[in-house]
């Protein structure tokens, strides 16, 4: 289609697959994602009651605490990746400091539980509130710049947070980390045997985060944020304010990360400074890109795949099979991050749309690769 006049802003509503093919038409219908999503949630909810085994991927049958622990971790990181997707994928804000809010959630809840008599739910609420305040403050400051400068400022603040965490051992446990004080935590969430309750909590978290992200993206504010990503000038010309739109997105994404951090703290019964490191944000970035930038379920899939891979590769690394290999093979295979890093490089080079983008290509052909690359670059 040729345009003789300046083109209208590109359509914002997500289009899971291209138009035209029969598969595309089915996949493109509005109710299918909802139906599939609902079915997946139900399936996930009953998993702890079943004895499904996926050897090589899951460490055991799905009713075992160990497996549920791993699956809960997947769900939590999926929620975190979703919150990062909102920031980076939807609003195009490349942040290197998202882990800070995750850490605020985990450490915040830990500190409140340790030092006050608050019960769990109010403690979580308070933590999220604190997170919102921090995000408002840091966000208002960081968003005065954009692009690379914004990324660097977020990195700087996250680094500061990391340093604060490490240095104030009296409050945060320093390098050792903070342990969960179970005094005011409901019984049913504590202990190995109750892992499946925490699993359900994590599932609820993911659903909530997903709904918030989806609702926001469909809202007017969300549309403004997307438009800001694609063409800031146009947004200004329309009399809207990119700064406000970005700040709103920033605060929501950060608040969701804080919430995710609290659930993580409960699951792991503690937290270590690694959660606030720049490395961790980069891991998040890897998850989102792996799954496919700009796609909600891509972020979920990317997080789940990454977490499972990380776990499985770690198990593989310490296995006997690998130990018996010659050095040339043994050394790379005994380092999960090496394989993940290499995988990531390959994805960026050859599958720029990530997993979601590759699936999309099934429906709409080669043009999607070009579009996927352009999509990534819009984040500048």
């Amino acid at each position: 289609m040729s345009a003789t006049t300046p083109t209208a802003p590109a359509p914002v509503t997500p289009d899971p697959a291209g138009r035209g093919s029969a598969v595309g038409r089915v996949l493109g219908s509005r109710w299918l994602p909802l139906a599939v999503g609902g079915a997946l949630v139900v399936l996930a909810a009953v998993l702890p009651l079943l004895a499904i085994e996926i050897p090589g991927i899951l460490p055991g049958p799905t009713y075992m605490p160990g497996t549920l622990q791993l699956l809960s971790l997947c769900l939590i990181f999926a929620a975190l990746a979703l919150s990062y997707h909102l920031l980076f994928g939807t609003a195009g804000m490349l942040s290197f400091g998202h882990a800070l809010y995750f850490a605020v959630g985990a450490y915040g809840l830990g500190i409140i539980l340790q030092r006050t008599d608050m019960t769990l739910v109010p403690a979580i609420a308070l933590t999220v509130l604190v997170g919102i305040v921090v995000a408002l403050g840091l966000g208002a400051v960081s968003l005065r710049v954009a692009g690379i400068s914004f990324a660097m400022v977020t990195l700087a603040f996250a680094q500061a947070g990391n340093v604060l965490v490490r240095r104030n051992a009296w409050l945060t446990g320093g390098e050792e980390g903070l342990r969960l004080n179970t005094t005011n935590v409901p019984e049913f969430l504590v202990g190995v045997l109750n892992t499946r309750n925490v699993y359900w909590l994590a599932l609820a978290l993911l659903v909530i985060v997903f709904l918030v992200v989806a609702w926001f993206e469909r809202s007017r504010a969300g549309h403004v944020a997307v438009a800001t990503r694609e063409n800031e000038l146009r947004v200004r010309v329309l009399g809207l304010r990119p700064f406000s739109a970005r700040l709103v997105v920033f605060v929501i994404a950060s608040a969701l990360a804080v919430l995710t951090g609290t659930v993580y703290f409960i699951l792991q019964s503690g937290v270590t400074p690694r959660a606030s490191s720049a490395d961790f944000t980069l891991t998040l970035l890897v998850m989102v890109v792996l799954g496919g930038v700009g796609s909600r379920w891509g972020a979920i899939v990317g997080a789940v795949v990454y977490t499972l891979l990380d776990q499985r590769l770690s198990a593989l690394a310490s296995s006997d099979a690998v130990a018996s290999l010659p050095d040339v093979l043994r050394i790379p295979l005994s380092e999960p991050l090496f394989i993940l890093g290499t995988l990531f490089i390959l994805v960026v080079l050859f599958l720029p749309g990530g997993i979601a983008g590759t699936v999309r290509r099934v429906g709409s052909g080669r043009r999607a690769t070009r579009a996927a690359r352009d999509r990534l670059e819009e984040a500048e």
């Binding site: 040729s2 345009a3 003789t4 300046p6 083109t7 590109a10 063409n231």
Partner: protein, 267 residues
Amino acid sequence: MSATSATDARTPSGSSAAGPILTVSSLSAKIKGQQVVEEVSFEVPATGVTALLGRNGVGKTSTIKAILGLIDRRGRVEFAGERIDGLPTFRIVQRGVGYVPEDREVFAGLTVAENLRLAERGGRPGARRALVDELFPDLVQRAQQSAGSLSGGQQQMVSLGRALVNENRLLLVDEPTKGLAPLIVQDVADALERAAQTVPILLVEQNLQVVRQLADTVVVIEAGRVVHRGLAAEFLDDEALVTRLLGVHAEADAPDAHPDDQNGGTR
């Protein structure tokens, strides 16, 4: 507006029988998703000056950039019989195309001499260095001066010099007199006239007096499409046509008598 191809460019008298040096067919280009050049087709004869005219914002600079591959383009571009539309910019330029960009784009942090040296292909002294020195004695004097500290007119000399210093087979010159004082405008026009004796030029210009001095043929663009081609003299004499295609103030065109604007044409 449909393309009124009044006459296809009749080659000016005295030219060789060689075909056009540049043939553009159905050239289209986009910037950030917006169509800026739409199915543009024209030819540049192997001698003389062809002026690319049109109102502001109409797609003239984009056309030049599309020919050079500086922006995404589709369509067919042939230079001296060879297709260049798929080549990267530097290869096109290496084939013998000189470029004088709008806003000059001299390297402010480099000296005049360094700007010229950078342009000399292969790092060897340019074949036409003597001509450049002759045309712009001022630059010879200011060889060690940083290009960023030059006046607008001097920077324009540098920019022209960069394109002239090699033996090019075509020059693409984009608004060389923009923002220059009348005296300097004349200097630039004279230098171009001198250059045109040995190399064909595709010239984008708003200043119609300069066009009248230099151009043999004109191509007029509107909304990214060609709307007129023909001999320059005929076109410029037709006041009604000029006003219609280029706007009411077109012929009242004393050049924009702004004194030399701020230093530094770099982006």
